[in-house]
């Protein structure tokens, strides 16, 4: 996604500075001692949220999904060559 944005050089420089500052600000968190504290994986206390193994018809079909791709060919999504 991000790589799809194009920026002017001046914009890139300004945003770069902003980002550095944001990271620096957030880095204050590193000063906290979190030794022995269980990470917060979730804010809701849910578990075992699962479903049965049954095939369901999908509202969006292949054509609808392929239409969202910038390019398609032979019912597949066409992307720049990657290896």
């Amino acid at each position: 996604m991000l790589s799809n944005f194009s920026l002017e050089d001046a914009e890139a420089e300004a945003l770069g500075q902003d980002l550095s500052q944001i990271i620096e600000y957030i880095s204050q968190l590193d000063e906290l001692d979190t030794e022995g504290i269980e990470p917060t994986y979730q804010v809701f206390e849910m578990e075992n949220v699962w479903r049965d193994d049954e095939i369901k018809a999908q509202e969006a079909d292949r054509e609808a999904l392929l239409a969202l791709a910038p390019e398609a060919e032979d019912n597949q999504i066409k992307v720049p060559k990657v290896l």
């Binding site: 193994d53 095939i55 969006a60 292949r62 999904l65 019912n75 597949q76 066409k78 992307v79 060559k81």
Partner: protein
């Protein structure tokens, strides 16, 4: 050349045989399907889509864990593994890094060697890319297929054991019913880590051969790597830690990506999927429901079938299952191994095996010498003939006219007929003069006169008696 000790660890991806994908309610069996015909907005990673965990995949993972003699972790979680590649549109793979569902276990190889399992975790498979000049095409049918990745300890020390381990895993997973085991379609894939060191020295740098999909290629790739790495070490050069690909055609591995460029996957807890919290009862229940595994059959048939015959049969789960229902394991296993598997159509036959009663009857008739071993094989093969397969063994034997004559009265009459035949006079004279070997000729004549239906073992004593 100096001798090195080889150390091998294997990661194996097993596609689970669920009806739907791990997080979306679409068809999980993409074989023979049009590209992108088994996809949902979840697999497509449309914004706002919520993955929903397939309970059956969790159940199968627990069964797989039991089959690996492993500890099942009652609490497990999913994590995001970020990487940017078109085979997974989300930009991350949902996996389990920190708290996998399957803990430490082991696999026992046919020769008794134990390979420890470090852990096994659930994750989603990626889509398939096809590369063309200047572009690639993406098929997401396989994206989201549930996998378990089984990670072994580096307990393997030869190419043959690497092959045996992969094969045993394949058997275990298919017997347990959690994987279709279609290697051609990538149902199981192996990544093999190989390093060399002189005996007593610390482990050398390893190379990882990715994405092998046959036992033979695992064995060949290990053999090739042993040669390649030992040559480097002999010359005083270093083995580079890297990912290598294998080509069945050239029989060589080639460098794909050096670990120095290894990416940071920015693992983080998956917020969309609450943790899995299993009860002891559920985990135990799965143990009770476990189908029989290769190891169980080895135990069951111990001493009744030669080890090498059993190992051949163990590649065909339906055969050993059927064998377990029959009484004369020795005879039936022999028909399976040397008659059935030699047939060109044996693969088709495996789906429609004879009933235990047919096999038991045939074994009993053979035991009682009502059939010769050749006759028994003929009847056995007719069990697979669409015209005859549902008939009783005896009925088929009658139809084929292969029932042996054991009735002493009837046999005596045929023997008399042969002994009175002038063509046999010379042989009779020779026998009486002390030549034992002409007895074979006379038995042959009786067989001929009976049109092959006499039981030669019954004929011999009658002949001897009459020639006294």
């Amino acid at each position: 050349m100096k001798d090195y000790e080889i150390t091998i660890g294997i990661e194996c991806h097993v596609q689970l045989a669920t009806k739907t994908k791990l997080f979306s309610e679409v068809d999980n069996d993409a074989r023979e399907k049009e590209p992108n015909s088994c996809v949902s907005p979840v697999d497509y990673a449309l914004p706002g889509m919520l993955p929903r965990l397939n309970k059956e995949a969790v159940r199968m993972a627990v069964i797989a864990g039991h089959a690996l003699n492993a500890k099942i972790n009652l609490l497990s979680r999913f994590d995001r593994k970020h990487y940017y590649y078109p085979d997974l549109p989300k930009g991350y793979q949902i996996s389990q890094l920190y708290q996998p569902i399957i803990g430490a276990g082991y696999v026992a190889l046919p020769d008794g060697t134990k390979v420890r399992i470090e852990h096994a975790h659930m994750e989603e498979d990626a889509g398939k890319l096809s590369h063309f000049a200047g572009y690639s095409l993406v098929d997401l049918n396989r994206a989201g297929t549930p996998l378990i990745e089984i990670v072994s300890e580096p307990d393997i020390h030869s190419a043959a054991h690497a092959r045996d381990y992969c094969k045993e895993l394949w058997r275990i997973m298919t017997y347990a019913g959690v994987c279709f085991g279609d290697l051609y379609n990538g149902n199981m894939r192996f990544d093999v880590n190989i390093s060399l060191a002189k005996p007593g020295e610390p482990l050398g740098t390893r190379a990882e051969i990715k994405n092998l999909n046959s036992f033979r290629s695992v064995e060949r790739a290990v053999e090739y790597e042993y040669k390649r790495q030992s040559k480097l070490l002999d010359k005083g050069e270093k083995v580079v830690q890297e990912t290598r690909g294998w080509s069945d055609d050239t029989g060589e591995t080639t460098s794909q990506r050096s670990k120095e460029e290894a990416q940071d996957y920015r693992y983080m807890p998956e917020p969309d999927i609450p943790p899995i919290h299993l009860t002891e009862e559920f985990v135990e229940e799965m143990k009770v429901e476990m189908p029989k595994l290769p190891e169980d059959y080895r135990e069951q048939f111990k001493g009744q079938i030669a080890d090498d015959t059993l190992e051949i049969l163990l590649d065909y789960q339906p055969l050993v299952e059927k064998l377990g229902e029959t009484k004369d394991v020795k005879r039936v296993s022999n028909w399976f191994a040397s008659v059935l598997l030699a047939e060109e159509k044996s693969a088709e036959y495996l789906n429609d095996l004879p009933s235990a009663k047919q096999l038991n009857d045939l074994a009993e008739m053979t035991e009682k010498a009502e059939l010769s071993s050749t006759g028994a094989k003929e009847v056995f093969l007719k069990f697979f003939d669409p015209q005859m397969k549902n008939r009783d063994a005896r009925e088929i034997a009658k139809e084929l006219n292969v029932l042996q004559e054991n009735d002493t009265g009837a046999l005596e009459a045929i023997v008399d007929q042969v002994l009175n035949d002038p063509a046999c006079a010379q042989a009779i004279a020779d026998y009486k003069a002390g030549s034992e070997k002409v007895l074979g000729f006379l038995v042959g004549q009786v067989m001929k006169a009976s049109k092959g239906k006499a039981n030669p073992a019954a004929v011999q004593p009658i002949l001897k008696e009459k020639l006294k």
